[in-house]
């Protein structure tokens, strides 16, 4: 297995871990963590392709990763403040309430 395929398989595995968590966890914060894991897996993909790709001096992979990190940080901040606002309303972070919301 060439190094590039091993990195790609690793990033696919990390992506599926994040996806599994985002789809099966109950708390909205854990779903956000899953989303962050998925973004990180994509970043790893970019860097692996930059390293082994045909034109590393164009720096496309590195630039994309830097912007992706910035966007992920912004999205985590806004996402968490949304979760906080919803928590203030419903007093829980549960995505599957067992009874109907009574507000």
């Amino acid at each position: 297995m060439t190094p590039l395929t091993s990195y790609l398989l690793l990033s696919a595995f990390l992506f599926s871990i994040g996806l599994a968590g985002a789809l099966s966890r109950r708390s909205s914060i854990m779903v956000l963590i899953g989303i962050e894991i998925m973004l990180n897996a994509a970043n790893l993909n970019f860097i692996a392709f930059w390293r082994f790709g045909p034109a590393p001096t164009a720096l496309t992979g590195v630039m994309f990763t830097i912007f992706s990190i910035a966007v992920a940080a912004a999205e985590a901040a806004v996402g968490l403040s949304i979760i906080l606002a919803v928590y203030r309303r419903t007093r829980s972070t549960d995505l599957e309430p067992t009874e109907a919301p009574h507000r």
Binding site: A20, M63, I83
Partner: protein
Amino acid sequence: MTLVFLILAAITILGLGAAMSLRNPVHCVVGLTIGFLGLAALYLQLGAQFVGLTQVLVYVGAVAILIIFAIMMMRSSESPEQQPYSRSWRVGVAIAFAVYCVLGWAVHFGAHTLPTQAATPELSVQQIGDALLHRFVLPLEIIAVLLTAALIGAGVLALQDPAGEVRGPR
């Protein structure tokens, strides 16, 4: 598939796997931090020094701390969740497994078309700075606006007291 890659991949998989499967949210964040550090080490191994260090600075130093604060503020760490997984968690895991199979199949069957450049490209921070201000200046400015909007938006969302009253102990 060198030994270093295997060790780092194992650390990353263990950390991120723990992040998604543990019961206590704070344990999950610790696992997440370990996963981020493993990924940063992988970036350093691939020769992208600046990206690896930025990953530690932003993800470990900001995003993980942010998630910790959110968990603390929402008091979800005090009592570990009775049921951390949703009722349809098997479907979720199955979908994720299916996605992994598709991606793995794509990588495996396209492996012969992939490039195999051997030498580590020289990447100085100067080149990144040049690229940011010449070729990628528009994304840079848009990111700046986006971060400002996120800062203001997150602040506004988190500061609002519902129905305008002040809660808390007197």
